[in-house]
Amino acid sequence: METANETLKIQTPEHVGFRYVLAGLGTRSTAFLVDTVVRGLFILFIFLVVMLLARLLPEFDPTGIFALIPKTWFLALGVLAYGVVDLGYFLIFEALWSGQTPGKRMQKLRVIKVNGQPIGWLESAVRNILRAVDLLLGFYPLGLFVMFLSSRSQRIGDYAAGTVVIVERRRDVPMDKTRLRSTSKLNLPELELHISTLEPKQYQVIRSFLQRREAMEGTHRRELARLLTQRLMKRWGISPRVPLTDESFLEEIVGIYERTRKAI
């Protein structure tokens, strides 16, 4: 069966287990696209500066030294700067930002060693020098092929440096707590008892609905609220006639559940 994520499990010598979600081709491509745009802007900026210098320096230099320098030198300076940005962008950012570049940060990706430790200059240098091999002929044909075969979605540079790219764990968007605060409209003594029997998975379904409802189409939102309410009532064998909407009822349930869990 197809699974939602591919994970990397790491066991420390102390038998503590970590699980990382591995980044796939899509998120990495998106990050690369962002980095390409940023690199392009860097390079454009460098060329603009070099061109301005080449034009303005000889005019404003009273000593006349710059007038003697051939303009091809400025061009060479620009090409050198381009090379530094092109080669150094990934290397420097990943080494200094602990495995992240602007694109990776935006996509919440991070390069780590296969043992879970952060990467250093050496790993960053190896994986980014070998990027040229992955990039052979452009558009990463070799990198794609190797990633396709790799169980950890590693390209050649990753294999050589012993690194993987992971998705940083994201916290769920915090729900508006005020909405979930129980208003005590449900005056059912047995309700808290019922709510305490809710399994975490069931609670997650209700909570997910409350988190995502704003994005839902009105009909489906009402329908789902009603479905959840009916299921809960049927499960608990209750039918409270209270002046609450389905969604308010679910908010009450989640509010009470979270309050009781917190108390425990």
Partner: protein, 490 residues
């Protein structure tokens, strides 16, 4: 009853697709004779059905009229509106809302007994109060108005939300029959599906491709391979001296064969496209499928898919064609009027930009048409409307999170990844050109062509999978069907 997407229908729940106009025969078309109430309201919702003529008096006697007389106390007007919209897909929600302000509302007078019962049960479950007028009454009434107008109209004040108790009381112990406007995806209980970002969609597409590589690849390889074989055999036939000694009859035969072959290829291509949509959908939702099952599932929907895709292609292609014709007429006229080259050039650039904008606008609006046809059983304008509706749904804030922009980015990334795949398959050919002797040039060329076919199939598969996941992502966000599936197991 063919629901169009039977594989996805949960048989335990009442499916709105039962009320598709092809089954219920409720739609516009017989306005004149169905305008029973003679007012603006009743003319909004009209019926088509089997045409009722004088000669069809016998058939008329077996037909029922259905009138919506009010809303149950505590029911939601919006539920009824959306339920009616399912029955009358050509009416907009606003039109139906307007119609509901003036009750009673005649829905049809040509429903069969079975249809009438279905409509009654369905709409009553949504909170509508209905009145059925049997054939005897209809037959006997000189003016149907008198027969169907209720003596008293119960219109409960519509409310924004309903109470838990009332909702539960309404439903009782009946199985859940929610407003399922679309075909309900059949989700495997153990599968993890959730809304995704662009990167995640592409990640998952890549993972799906890797896990079901042979299935997806062979689905698309069939038409591509057939086209390649046909091309090759034609080349061999024409290259074998037949071209030189060809008579007029042979030439005509060859031309007809070529046209037939192109038609077969097109059919095969769309068949494969539909089969791929089916296969990806099944695997994404956690079910097993096979090459034969995927192709088999498309047999009943192929006609609809072909027709709808041709319609979409025609409409999208029409605009550039019209602009081209417009330019062809305008340029000489402008020239005779003395406008110089600059004016003509500016006009051409403006027209080209308009053409490109509208082309992409329409293309993105109808990007999901094929998925809608295959997975929801809709067709023609209905599928186009649904695709447009999905592509214009706002489920997230932010410019780049609009469905059209997301789709554009996915297509761009898919294109770039596709380029990488194509380049990869160029490498063996390049190496062969460098190292294999010239005497094997024909073999090298054939190998390169075969690799091109494989590369094209792979690149197409990847983007296609990503777009199917994108379709599901919109539905997950706006309809929450993953939550519905999980809620069923609460």
């Amino acid at each position: 009853m063919d629901l169009g997407a039977d594989d996805h229908v949960d048989t335990t729940s009442f499916e709105l697709t039962d009320f598709d106009d092809t089954h219920l025969n409720l739609d516009e078309g017989r306005i004149a004779e169905q305008n029973l109430l003679g007012d603006k309201v009743s003319s909004l919702l009209t019926t088509r059905g089997v045409p009722m003529t004088q000669s069809a008096a016998g058939a008329e006697a077996k037909r029922f009229a259905i009138s919506l007389t009010g809303l149950k106390p505590g029911s939601s007007q919006e539920d009824v509106v959306f339920a009616l919209q399912r029955i009358f897909p050509r009416q907009t929600v606003e039109q139906i809302r307007g119609a509901l302000t003036k009750l009673p509302l005649l829905l049809t007078r040509s429903a069969t007994e079975e249809q009438a019962k279905k409509v009654k049960n369905f709409l009553e479950s949504k909170g509508a109060v209905l009145r059925l007028i049997g054939p005897a009454v209809l037959k006997g009434s000189t003016h149907p108005d008198s027969a169907i107008r209720p003596t008293s109209t119960v219109v409960a004040p519509p409310r924004q939300s309903e109470t838990v108790g009332a909702a539960a009381a309404q439903q009782g112990d009946r199985p859940y029959t929610g407003v399922e406007r679309r075909v309900k995806p059949r989700v495997h209980p153990g599968i993890g599906i959730h809304p995704m970002g662009i990167g995640e969609i592409l990640d998952r597409a890549f993972r799906l491709l890797r896990q079901h590589f042979l299935l997806f690849f062979f689905i698309l390889l069939i038409p591509q391979g057939s086209f390649f074989l046909f091309n090759k055999s034609t080349q061999i036939f024409l290259g074998g001296g037949a071209q030189q000694n060809m008579s007029a009859g042979m030439g005509l035969g060859l031309g007809v064969s070529f046209i037939l072959a192109v038609m077969v290829m097109l059919i095969l291509q769309f068949w494969a496209q539909g089969a791929l949509i089916h296969a990806v959908s099944e695997t994404y939702l956690g079910h097993e499928t096979s090459l034969a099952t995927s192709y088999g599932a498309m047999r009943t929907r192929l006609g609809r898919l072909l027709g709808t895709m041709f319609l979409v292609g025609f409409v999208i292609g029409l605009l550039p064609a019209l602009l081209g014709i417009g330019m062809a007429i305008a340029v000489p006229i402008l020239a005779t009027m003395g406008f110089g080259g600059n004016s003509t050039a500016i006009l051409s650039v403006v027209m080209v930009f308009i053409g490109i904008f509208w082309f992409f606008h329409l293309l993105l609006n109808w990007l999901l048409v094929d998925k809608v046809v295959v997975l929801e059983g809709k067709a023609w304008r209905s599928a186009m409307r649904r695709s447009k509706e999905l592509m214009n749904t706002r489920t997230e804030k932010g410019f780049w999170k609009r469905p059209k922009n997301k789709a554009g980015l996915i297509l761009l990334l898919g294109f770039l990844i596709g380029l990488g795949i194509r380049l990869l398959f160029q490498v063996p050919g390049m190496l062969a050109h460098m190292f294999v002797p010239m005497s094997f040039a024909g073999l090298t060329l054939t190998m390169q062509q075969v690799l091109n076919v494989i590369a094209t199939s792979l690149a197409a598969v990847f983007t296609a999978i990503a777009m199917i996941l994108f379709y599901y992502d919109i539905r997950l966000r706006s309809e929450g069907f993953d939550l519905k599936a999980m809620a069923e197991h609460l």
